[in-house]
């Protein structure tokens, strides 16, 4: 199969160191003394624990429920008893703790009831859902939940599905062995991805230093009669980077701040395809993975390891040399020293390298940058590491972003070639995490500001509403009082008139009025009542106007100093004590 391959810029050729571990077949690691299963093993939401200390769990039983769509479930790797759900040290460069489920195996390794799914009858939605529930995540190292990548873009036609079997990092051979020994299941898994994404082409990229793996995959593709293309790509670190492999196989360059999906390309690791097939065809969730154990050990080899196995116990299987002084998780280019031997193997652990000064001689001290440009020549993303280094070192983070620091994939090529031995990637990681922290702080401050402003607005509105309510009450009371006063006045006059009927000196017309008022003359009383109502309405309106005037803040109180405000408050407090007596209608509710 001849095909035009493309090239990516830069790249380095470190010694591959793969032959030590790829000669022996995959071995099954024995049950460890205990399993520490971190809940947060994929990008996205942290799964919620669904077991508690003392519970008995079976192999494959759900122990952490996916939290949200971008999150994947976590399962018990073997049967046993849950000892605790507690914080434990993580395989992370920080050495910090996170929530883990600790399981003591009972030795029976008993599976929960599971079986093959009727894949042909399953809707694509159900397949994605099942993959999420089975905890299938990208096993290349990023651990992005796979189901989240299995929805084709609605706007861009799906051109190519890339399967990443490049495994470019030195020492690591787990994907190589997987393809050699389990090629058929990998190809079947790729078939699932193909069915969900409906791409025009499926390309399987394997570095040309793995001829056995490529041959096995070709044989499996032919045996299953699939139209997949197995392509051998030149061995050049970091050909296994998603963007690099896409570039090599399709010639498409994924622009900064865009995802390959936007170009109609999607990329999966071979091990991810394998676990997807196990999940669909056998109903097995992801409870184990292949891990290369290499470096300063007697018997480097690939092991099928339960998730949660303490790294120290796994390393012992390969009998490390006595001068081993640490464990590197991942390869020598992108890996990191884990905090201690107790940290567990997680879904993203593809390789453990026993560290010693013999395997990785200590670096000579860092020298000043001579601006030779070697780092820029090898950068696969065509960045200018020497510029980014300068600005990171000076903590000028705005400038680092101008030089596109976030396009850096931290592959380590620049540090590898630097003649001054500057740990460039560390500077970039520092700058990136500093920028992220600032971004978080900025967002938090903006959020606090909006909420503060909203609270002020609400307080003012509430004050205004309260004043309005008080004014209404005051107006109603004033009206009532006016009406009462009017009624009293009317009664008084009536009483006065009726009280002097025998007075002869009274004018005859006044007598007539008196008679009229005393007599149940309907017309005259209605006129009187109307007059009173009008008067009351006027009084109420006046009271309302007064209340409104009171509710408006005085102009000269807008810009007062704190001392002045305090003085005003004091006066207000004293006034409030006196107020009920002075204006009872307004101050009492």
């Amino acid at each position: 199969m001849l095909m035009n391959l493309f090239k990516f810029k830069g790249g380095v050729k470190p010694p591959t160191n793969k032959t030590q571990s790829n000669t022996l077949p995959i071995a099954q690691a024995p049950l460890p003394s205990r399993l520490i299963v971190p809940l947060h093993q994929s990008i996205g939401g942290t799964p919620r624990p669904v077991v508690k200390a003392g519970d008995h769990v079976l192999k494959g039983q759900l122990i952490g429920e996916a939290d949200g769509w971008i999150s994947a479930a976590v399962h018990a790797p073997t049967s046993g008893t849950v000892l605790e759900v507690a914080m434990h040290v993580q395989p992370h460069p920080s050495g910090l703790d996170a929530m883990c489920v600790v399981i003591e195996p009972d030795g029976r390794d008993k599976w929960i009831a599971h079986g093959p799914l009727d894949y042909a009858a399953m809707a694509p939605e159900a397949v994605r859902e099942h993959l999420q529930q089975s905890g299938v995540v990208g096993l290349g190292g990023a651990a992005f939940p796979t189901h989240g990548k299995l929805t084709a873009s609605k706007t861009v036609p799906m051109d190519e599905l890339i399967i990443n079997g490049a495994e470019c990092e030195p020492f690591i051979t787990c994907d190589d062995l997987l393809m050699r020994e389990r090629a058929e299941e990998v190809v079947r898994g790729i078939g699932i991805f193909r069915d969900l994404l409906q791409p025009k082409k499926v390309l399987i990229g394997i570095e040309d230093n793995k001829p056995e793996a490529a041959a096995a995959m070709r044989a499996a593709v032919d045996a299953l009669n699939e139209p997949f293309l197995v392509i051998q790509v030149p061995t050049l670190y970091p050909a296994g980077g998603a963007k690099q492999l896409i570039r090599v196989l399709t010639g498409k360059e994924v622009p900064a701040a865009k995802r390959s999906t936007d170009l109609g390309v999607q990329c999966f690791n071979v091990a991810t395809a394998y676990t997807a097939w196990r999940a669909i065809a056998h109903g097995e969730p992801v409870v184990s993975r292949l891990v290369t154990v290499s470096g300063n050990v007697h018997a480097p080899r690939n092991y099928e390891v339960l998730i949660g196995t303490p790294m120290g116990e796994l390393l012992k299987l390969a009998t490390p040399h006595p001068d081993t002084d640490g464990i590197v998780m991942g390869g020598p280019m992108m890996g990191f020293l884990v905090p201690n031997e107790q940290v567990p193997v997680i879904k993203a652990t593809n390789c453990l390298i026993a560290h010693s000064d013999r395997v990785f001689p200590p670096k000579a001290p860092e020298m000043p940058c001579i601006r030779c440009g070697a780092c820029a020549e090898v950068c696969p993303h065509e960045l200018q590491p020497f510029e980014m280094y300068w600005f990171s070192r000076a903590k000028n983070f705005g400038k680092t972003q101008e030089y596109h620091i976030f396009d850096c994939i931290e592959c380590g090529c620049c540090s590898f070639v630097c003649p001054s031995r500057i740990p460039l990637v560390q500077y970039f990681r520092f700058a990136k995490s500093e920028i992220w922290a600032r971004e978080r702080e900025k967002n938090a401050a903006d959020g606090a500001k909006t909420r503060f402003e909203f609270k002020q607005l609400r307080d003012e509105r509430e004050k205004a509403e309260k004043a309005e309510k008080l004014a209404k009450v005051a107006a109603a009371q004033a009206a009532k009082k006016a009406a009462e006063a009017a009624a009293a006045a009317a009664a008084e006059t009536a009483a006065a008139e009726t009280g002097a009927p025998g007075n002869d000196s009274a004018a005859p017309e006044s007598k007539a009025v008196a008679e009229a008022t005393t007599l149940p003359d309907a017309t005259l009383t209605t006129v009187d009542a109307e007059k009173e109502a009008k008067r009351a309405a006027i009084a109420a309106a006046m009271a309302r106007a007064k209340a409104q005037r009171d509710a408006m803040p005085a102009k000269n109180t807008e810009a007062v100093t704190i001392e002045q405000q305090r003085a005003i408050d004091d006066i207000e407090a004293r006034r409030a004590v006196l107020a009920p007596a002075a204006v009872p209608g307004e101050k009492t509710e």
Partner: protein, 192 residues
């Protein structure tokens, strides 16, 4: 005649340009004080009032007017003072108060009597609860301003420093700083 024409042309030019300037000053008028906004952008928006002003905006306004110093904001820290000094061209000064690590308020929910006083005091609405119901802090919204501490009648609120966790962990600065070596051996030798 020529001189009159020249004067007329200059006058016409002056009128046209004047009109353009007048139009521009109306059309592109800057609303508000951009300096206040820039200062406010630097302030941490905790709304804690530790500067003596009721919120970050009044303090920003006072700084813009040049009435107060730039070192009154403890939550902003020395970094904030540095940024303000850079923006305003003023001199960097030591912080007035002690710089504290970032904190979050925590309500002891067993002691809380549900008086709502802390809810009223919280400037950023980070406390939920109702009268005679237990209150609690929405931790991600809390700015650590401590304004809820004094009104609590049962003292059930405490402040806790936000420790390092996997979500906020940062890679360290790779430059190893040169420290003066502690010479302990020499005096011991002398004593011997």
């Amino acid at each position: 005649m020529d001189i009159l024409l020249a004067i007329a042309i200059m006058a016409l030019g002056a009128v046209v340009l004047g009109a353009a300037l007048g139009f521009a000053s109306v059309k592109f008028k800057v609303e508000g004080d951009p300096l206040v906004e820039k200062i406010e952008g630097i302030l941490p928006q905790t709304q804690c009032g530790q500067c003596g002003f009721p919120g970050c905006k009044p303090y920003a306004e006072a700084i813009a007017k040049g009435e107060v110093d730039i070192n009154l904001c403890p939550p902003g820290g020395m970094e904030g003072v540095q940024k303000l000094a850079d923006l305003l061209g003023r001199e960097v000064k030591e912080l007035e108060a002690e710089e504290k690590p970032k904190q979050v308020a925590i309500i002891d929910e067993n002691t809380c009597i549900g008086c709502t006083l802390c809810i009223q005091a919280c400037p950023v609405d980070a406390i939920v609860g109702a009268a005679k119901q237990m209150h609690t802090i929405i931790a991600p919204l809390c700015t650590g301003c401590e304004l809820c501490l004094p009104p609590c009648p049962v003292e059930c609120i405490r402040m806790e420093a936000i420790g390092e966790n996997l979500d906020n962990w940062k890679w360290k600065y790779p430059v190893i700083e040169i420290k003066t070596e502690m010479r302990k051996a020499a005096p011991m030798m002398k004593a011997a």
